[in-house]
């Protein structure tokens, strides 16, 4: 199993900061979506639609750096950046960041850090959705929703995580592969 070296640590941190900066730019979009959905009582949908973007640092770091813990660390550091930039949810981003990162990590763990292809990304999207949804059930009180609405939220979240953490991550890593910068 590969160990962490100073170069990898700096790389995962820089990557997390980059993602933090890009995600920072979509905060107005989040507020706008919330404002549009809120009157109809659909606020969580704003969250679900964008959740894939916020959880993307995990699979991307896991895929690029390929060391156990990379996905968790990437997502957690992204949350640290968000907190110090003055993110919306404050301290709880640290916990959500760890939960999200661990969710993506499970996907890589399931293939024992050996496969870096579609299978791993789909698994990772699935574990991210399941783990973060469990967290939302407790933290955001999702457990009080009617079952139908809850299923809708779950479906939207999975699609979002799959589009950003799966498809977009695959497109990015394809480009990196063609540029021969990924270690195999």
């Amino acid at each position: 199993m590969k160990r962490w070296h100073i170069r990898d640590i700096i790389l995962v941190t820089i990557l997390a900061i980059f993602m933090g900066v890009i995600f920072w730019a979509i905060t107005p979009l989040y507020s706008a979506l919330t404002a549009v959905f809120a009157p109809m009582g659909l606020q969580p949908l704003a969250n679900e639609i964008l959740l894939g973007v916020w959880t993307m640092a995990g699979p991307l770091a896991g895929f690029v750096i390929r060391i156990p813990g990379a996905a968790t660390l990437g997502e957690l550091l992204g949350a640290v950046v968000e907190m110090f930039l003055g993110g919306v949810w404050g301290a709880s981003t640290l916990i959500s960041g760890t939960v999200q990162g661990f969710g993506s990590e499970l996907g890589f763990m399931a293939t024992r850090y050996r496969r870096y292809d579609w299978i791993t990304l789909i698994l990772s999207a699935l574990t991210t959705t399941l783990v973060t949804f469990g967290w939302s059930l407790a933290r955001e009180g999702y457990s009080a929703y009617h079952l139908g609405f809850l299923l809708l939220l779950f479906a939207v979240r999975f699609v979002s995580v799959f589009v950003f953490g799966g498809i977009l991550t695959k497109l990015i890593t394809n480009l990196l592969d063609r540029a021969h910068v990924l270690k195999h």
């Binding site: 790389l11 820089i14 990557l15 973007v53 301290a91 929703y145 009617h146």
Partner: protein
């Protein structure tokens, strides 16, 4: 308070109120965080932001739970105060903790390996450069008539190339300045960890436990 213990306290309390349903404790946490922030001269504008944000998002969430769910008033009150408490506690932490001191404390007091501590610091100091790089990449693409959005793979591709490049350079720079992974180090600036810190941590946690489990609403 020692930054590592402060972080531990914050995470433990935030985790605990995520799974418990006592709104009076949430209110108490909000009041204490507010007092601590006023005490440390947090700017008024920042306090207003810290209030408006959770009221807006928490309000929207509570409204949605009312329309689409079967939540009781007590449950809604818990969720709403929980959201505000998270943001206030996080505000207190972020506004009163210096990232450099926190990293030093994590290395010295919490025994985080020094390669992680210095790796994080090296990268975090690049923050302004990283922000400028995203702007540069977008501008360079615009000159070729290409608009890069947060869903464009090219944006991330270029960002990752820059990250790889910089991490190589920074790592070599650190090695050439004599940084050796896992070697014992001395510290130019020591972060104290005194009995008072432990008393504050244990005392605050004990107070929260009492509040949560004596049967308050």
């Amino acid at each position: 308070m020692n930054p590592s213990l402060k972080l531990a306290l914050l995470v433990l309390v935030a985790l605990e109120i995520s799974f418990t349903h006592v709104w009076t404790v949430n209110i108490a946490l909000i009041v204490v965080s507010l007092i601590l922030m006023v005490w440390s001269h947090v700017a008024f504008k920042r306090l207003v932001m810290l209030t408006l944000i959770p009221v807006f998002f928490g309000g929207a969430l509570v409204w949605s739970l009312t329309l689409r769910g079967t939540a009781s008033t007590h449950f809604l009150l818990v969720i709403f105060t929980r959201m505000v408490a998270y943001v206030y506690m996080g505000g207190w932490f972020a506004q009163t903790t210096n990232p450099l001191t926190l990293t030093r404390s994590l290395e010295q007091n919490a025994k985080l390996p020094s390669k992680f501590a210095y790796g994080f610091l090296a990268a975090f100091n690049l923050m302004p450069k990283i922000q400028a790089e995203v702007a540069t990449i977008k501008a360079a693409a615009l000159m070729r008539g290409q608009v890069l959005h947060f869903w464009s793979p090219q944006l991330y591709f270029k960002v990752i190339l820059a990250a790889m490049n910089w991490s190589d350079q920074l790592a070599s720079a650190m090695t050439s300045h004599g940084f050796v992974e896992d070697a014992p180090r001395t510290h130019a600036s020591e972060i104290p960890l005194i009995t008072r810190d432990w008393v504050l941590l244990v005392g605050s946690l004990a107070l929260v436990q009492i509040g949560l489990f004596v049967g308050l609403p």
